[in-house]
Symmetry: C2
Subunit: 403 residues, 2 copies
Amino acid sequence: RVNPTRLLERIVSLGACGALPGGGVSRLALTDADAQGRAELLRQMRELDMEIRIDPVGNIFGIHAGVEDAVVMMGSHIDTVSTGGLYDGALGVIAGLEVVACLKDAGIRPRHPVVVAAFTNEEGARYAPDMLGSLVYSGAMDVDDAYRITGCDGSVLGEELRRIGHCGMQSGPRDIHAYVELHIEQGPVLEDQGLNIGIVTGVQGISWTEVTVEGRSAHAGTTPARLRHDAGLAAAYITMGLSDMVAAMGPAQLATVGALTLTPNLVNVVASRAVMTVDLRNPDNTALCAAEATLAKLMGEAEARYGVNVSHRTLARFEPVPFTPALVDTIEATARQMGLSCMRLYSGAGHDAQMIAPVAPAAMIFVPSVAGISHNIREYTHPDDIMNGANLLLRVVTDQAGL
Amino acid sequence: RVNPTRLLERIVSLGACGALPGGGVSRLALTDADAQGRAELLRQMRELDMEIRIDPVGNIFGIHAGVEDAVVMMGSHIDTVSTGGLYDGALGVIAGLEVVACLKDAGIRPRHPVVVAAFTNEEGARYAPDMLGSLVYSGAMDVDDAYRITGCDGSVLGEELRRIGHCGMQSGPRDIHAYVELHIEQGPVLEDQGLNIGIVTGVQGISWTEVTVEGRSAHAGTTPARLRHDAGLAAAYITMGLSDMVAAMGPAQLATVGALTLTPNLVNVVASRAVMTVDLRNPDNTALCAAEATLAKLMGEAEARYGVNVSHRTLARFEPVPFTPALVDTIEATARQMGLSCMRLYSGAGHDAQMIAPVAPAAMIFVPSVAGISHNIREYTHPDDIMNGANLLLRVVTDQAGL
Ligand SMILES: NC(=O)NCCC(=O)O
Ligand SMILES: NC(=O)NCCC(=O)O
């Protein structure tokens, strides 16, 4: 069984990197805070005598040696959004280290090497798409394309990677026997149902679009409404239209306008430009396509109604990803054997596991999030739930690794 | 008559200060660009042997000596919005200098000293309220209150004033015989009507409110719509509601949400906070109060619908200001004598003249704006129209000053 004190201490040490004054953390990918977090992670890995590899996109792999080539990998990410908590991502990485610590304590050299991965820029908050590090690792994105991505703050991914010294020369393990990711649910379902564990069957579809509205700056006091080309008003129209769409499509469809920037952003100037992000999600790809069609329709309506030009580019588009059924079954059976109450559910958030799933057996374990709150500094998961998840991870990984 | 080449050259020299690469100018009040503009203005005033005074809020007064105490003042401002043109404000100041140049050429020492004023922060784009310099000069705002105002970029007015060295020790002329401000219309009416000159009867009411929506940051992929407290969506709701209000109230009512800032402003985080500006205008104060009541209603509805907290503070509130009827009549009669076609109209934009009107006879002259465009780098007024306006100003001012 895992050591609760040791596990929680590791979480707190990592959480100190990028800690916000009012609680929570801001550790956007490849910022100084992320560099601190990476240094702390490397320190913890070295303490466990793990072999460390950093790949060209900054993914960190800590390896506890085994006998064969194929590895059992645990992993997640340590980047956060700028209003993040201690657990999103960090839990999967730190619990992985705790599993290794347990193997080390027991002096076990498993058949399959046991690897803990921390993937770069999972959140996608600074650089789109999300799950970028695992996407590159899985071979679905070229690393040179990743280097060229411009972030929401104008920074360029490749430059930031080199700046913080995490543009590695090594490659991660190629042969994955199984990938298991422990993560907080980040939603309200498990708590609602009073259950210990979520057996994650897959991840819903994710569609991110950046919408740019080009209007015309004009004087707020002299320009009649009919002569305006108000980019801000067009953006509000699209935002409200998406909200109406969600009401019409029902709770499976989500839509979020999380970022919106007006130019020149002054009180008495009609906005000449609005750049907004649209995050659409649905577990059903056909429904998600319908939502994207609604967005397209709203953009067209905004052009016609407000005399603006609306363009868009896709920041991320991932179809729903099912996890490997056999591995999902194994995890569920193990949880039940251990007396943990559980249910199957799909993930609302994107996760690195979904990028591994196309290339290797992959699945996830969820533990409850208090009030379903995440991407918020009040994100919290009770220590008991953390220990349940970590113990389940330990059991599944040791079973998979073969002792 | 004014000298067209000399006048236009002065406008171009001032326009070089804060010039934008694609045309137009950004000379927000008390920035380095404004400091350059002020230096250029002082240079031009010295060239005309004017006595220069700078008051504690940075208003610049150039004085061409006369015989009596009471002055005839021309004036406007040289600050701009960040997407401004060459004429908004600058025209009134530079045309004033051209009037002085004509007096000087003719060796005339008028009965009333002739003063050219450039008032600080007329635009209100950096520091609210607008017309701040003339408001302080007129005695309606305490200079110490002005010093404490925080700008849209977080700067503090008093600090910026000292930084650029324009926190003067002198005071402007106290006794104003007449104040006449030449300005571009910034709207489409004169061009529409094919007229040379607008005789401005007054300025419409202006209401600026900063609305702050406090919601809760949440995960865009896991948080059901019914559990969200989406500050960005609430801001969009208020924005659309104001647009509907304008449609219902008719063209006399204007509403603009020119600035909107979301926090944390990330693609996959429901916004925890939105700060937006609302600019409401109407020539009728009762109607403007009704629009303000609608804004209050929308803020309440947003709270109820989106589970957010909405607070607000007034950034500026000016009732409609009528100009001095006798002076308005004089200007109109003079224009007609000169063979200029003209009409009476009220101003949609706020102007320094409206702050002088309560303390001295004040009125304004408008010249046409091409396509009514202003607060846009494509703002333009034809040289012929500029000369018409400047010649009318010359005639009115020399009449008022008494030769
Ligand atoms: N786990 C997590 O919050 N991932 C971020 C990617 C997303 O779902 O937006
Ligand atoms: N003249 C002018 O554009 N003034 C700015 C103040 C306002 O009307 O918003």
